[in-house]
């Protein structure tokens, strides 16, 4: 994947760049808003990581500039500010995701990979993964021939996992997408929800579909 990183803090930039390269991505790096914008306007990228606070040109300005030029590259905004209005501003200017510093690198990586695959919107009313089928209209789930009865949060959990098969979904992402809160659980409450979901969709079947990725989150796989 080709990623553009616009970040002024050298230590943070180095940390992200190194991690991305180690994960097999190629990274172009700009340390201020103006350079970042010219990169975004001249080359094609799969994802842009954009810092909110930049010298010379603010992150939001950079984003709205290239969006107005018709460049729709998925963009994740990084911000040191844990403020809702900042987030709203960023999303309004056309950002696709938002991550506040401090963050774990796994979190960033998971989000970028989801962003890059988001270009194909699902018009389907049914999600299918191997023998697992989720009907978004009737709100039913079947695995093989068995109908599985899920509670509404369990359904939303599975829906989000199935929208991103084979990709790591972090606990914070689940909280954000399923519960719609950006918060930091003190305990393993998400794990308990996942284990309840597993009890319903994996227990008694020949192989498990939901996999735990240690230190990162969860992933749903075909096989």
């Amino acid at each position: 994947m080709k990623i553009l990183l616009i970040e002024d803090e050298p230590t943070v930039a180095r940390f992200i760049q190194k991690g991305l390269i180690e994960s097999g991505h190629s990274v172009e790096y700009a340390d201020n808003g103006k350079h970042g914008l010219s990169h975004a306007l001249t080359a094609q990228f799969d994802v842009i990581i954009l810092d909110r606070m930049l010298p010379q040109m603010d992150g939001i300005e950079v984003l709205s500039s290239y969006r107005s030029e018709g460049i729709l590259t998925p963009t994740l905004i990084l911000s040191a500010k844990n403020k809702v209005d900042d987030k709203v501003k960023g999303l309004r200017a056309g950002a696709d995701d938002y991550l506040t510093k401090p963050f774990a690198f796994e979190e960033l990586l998971a989000r970028i990979e989801i962003l890059a695959s988001r270009n194909v919107p699902t018009a389907n009313t049914k999600l299918t993964l191997g023998e697992l089928e989720l009907d978004l209209i009737n709100r039913t789930v079947t695995r093989g021939k068995e109908v599985i009865d899920l509670q509404s949060k369990e359904f939303k959990l599975l829906e989000y996992l199935m929208l991103n098969p084979g990709k790591i979904i972090t606990r914070a992402m689940l909280l954000e997408k399923v519960w719609e809160y950006n918060f930091d659980p003190q305990t393993n409450v998400i794990d308990v929800h996942i284990s309840r979901l597993r009890n319903k969709i994996d227990k008694g079947f020949s192989y498990p579909m939901i996999e735990t990725i240690r230190g990162a989150g969860y992933m749903i796989n075909k096989r």
Binding site: T11, P102, W179, F183, T187, V189, G215
Partner: protein
């Protein structure tokens, strides 16, 4: 420090009352001596002078007769320094000598022991010094002596001066009473002013202690008096304390911040290790440390943030319900009976994510410390302008001495050290509650027959 509620317990009021009492005592004594005692004394003195004069005349008359007395009276009258009044007459009321215009007829009152209170008029030809009173009546004290052959001598002395002195004394007494009255009122006013200003200082200090908001300052009205200077000095003290506390927090934040990168690298190295048994444990430890650092940074981030940014109208009861919903698997796993009751609270202005975090942390604690088959009560109530959120549990509880320490960073009770957690959860709640102008407190649980803890906090819509 507590505000002074009863003004009588303030030293300035006690001192004021004491001085007012002393002043009144002084003025009372002064008035008494001037108006009553002096009056009597002067009259008695006058009487004695008249009496001795009369005694002289009596012996002169007895030894030398009328002529000698007439001569003596004339001599006295012609003397400029004399201030006695005389009227010497014979049996037929014929004038013989003296400086009075006439024998007093009306307005004669007997005082006592033959002393008369008369209105006397000085004769026009009198050479005496009191020119002004010539021809006009003045009050005088008089005594009369009758000699053997029917001659009578009246000796009098004007008490106009004494009257005047008494009037002055009375007036001055009144003036002093008025002064004391004014002094009393103004000193009570000053005492009230001082006490109310001290109360203001005490209230602010109290607020700083209860909310822990070190950026609060005492109100400075002016800078001319001692109390304002004290206020300024106390404010400087607060500045210093705030700076030191900030410096300490900044240092710990920097440590947390700077250690995060090497820790992440360390985690990467562990990840690269061949799959050994220790790998999972090491990774978990790394994650725990990273989580602590992140929590610390989050708390200081919230503590330093300004109130309005990030706030939007939210439905509080829905947020509480979501938190209860999120934790329901944990509640069910321990077979806990959770009772949930919430007033419908729409249009609360606050930070949705942070509010959720605060409810979740308190719930999380309650579930963690409640044994299997226990009870938890969750309540959200609108009380006037503020909202009260409370969670009662039927766990082992916390000793009352530790209540105030529960919101300190890294504080964990001895008996809870074995459970999971890092002692930052309630510190985070405290920061969030302060951000929403609220207050957090702890009490024994209200669930009957339980030793559990009640955690409650207020929130105020921005």
């Amino acid at each position: 420090m507590r505000a002074i509620t009863a003004y009588t317990k303030s030293s300035s009021f006690v001192v004021s009352f004491f001085f007012i009492f002393l002043l009144m005592l002084g003025v009372g004594f002064n008035s008494y001596t001037l108006s009553v005692a002096n009056d009597d004394l002067l009259i008695r003195e006058t009487q004695a002078a008249i009496q001795s004069d009369l005694g002289g005349f009596r012996s002169l008359y007895n030894s030398s007769g009328r002529k000698a007395v007439q001569q003596a009276v004339d001599e006295r009258v012609s003397s400029y320094a004399n201030d006695f009044l005389y009227y010497f007459k014979d049996q037929q009321d014929q004038y013989i000598a003296g400086n009075l215009a006439q024998w007093p007829k009306d307005n004669i009152a007997l005082v006592k022991n033959g002393v008369l209170d008369i209105q006397a008029t000085l004769a026009q030809n009198s050479p005496q010094k009191r020119h002004k009173s010539k021809g006009t009546e003045e009050r005088a004290i008089a005594m009369i002596i009758e000699f053997n052959n029917g001659d009578s001598l009246l000796v009098a002395r004007s008490v106009q001066d004494i009257d005047f002195a008494v009037t002055i004394a009375q007036t001055s007494s009144w003036v002093m009473i008025v002064i004391v009255f004014v002094l009393a009122i103004s000193s009570l006013g000053v005492a009230y002013y001082v006490v109310s200003r001290i109360n203001k200082i005490a209230e602010t200090a109290d607020a700083i202690i209860t909310t822990g908001n070190l950026s609060d300052r005492l109100y400075v009205e002016s800078d001319w008096d001692d109390l304002s200077k004290l206020t300024l000095v106390l404010n400087q003290l607060l500045d210093q304390i705030e700076m030191s506390v900030r410096a300490i927090t900044a240092v710990s934040d920097n440590i947390a911040h700077d250690l995060r990168t090497p820790l992440t690298r360390l985690k990467g190295h562990i990840e690269e290790l061949d799959n050994s048994n220790d790998k999972g444990r090491l990774l978990n430890e790394c994650d725990n440390i990273l989580a602590i650092f992140n929590s610390l940074l989050r708390i200081s981030d919230i503590e330093s943030s300004t109130k309005i940014s990030g706030f939007s109208p939210v439905r509080l009861d829905e947020i509480v319900e979501d938190a209860v919903d999120l934790y329901s698997p944990l509640v069910e796993a321990k077979n806990i009976t959770l009772h949930y009751e919430a007033d419908s609270i729409a249009d609360f202005i606050g930070d949705r994510d942070l509010l959720f975090q605060s409810f979740a942390n308190v719930l999380d604690n309650a579930i963690k410390f409640t044994p299997d088959n226990g009870k938890i009560d969750v309540k959200l109530k609108q009380q006037d302008r503020q909202v009260v959120f409370s969670v009662d549990d039927s766990g082992a509880g916390v000793s009352a001495a530790s209540f105030s320490k529960l919101t300190q960073r890294f504080y964990r009770e001895e008996k809870s050290r074995s459970t999971s957690g890092n002692g930052l959860g309630l510190a985070l709640v405290n920061a969030i509650v302060s951000l929403h102008n609220g207050r957090i407190w702890f009490e024994p649980s209200r669930i009957s027959n339980s030793a559990g803890l009640r955690c409650a906090f207020t929130l105020v819509s921005a």
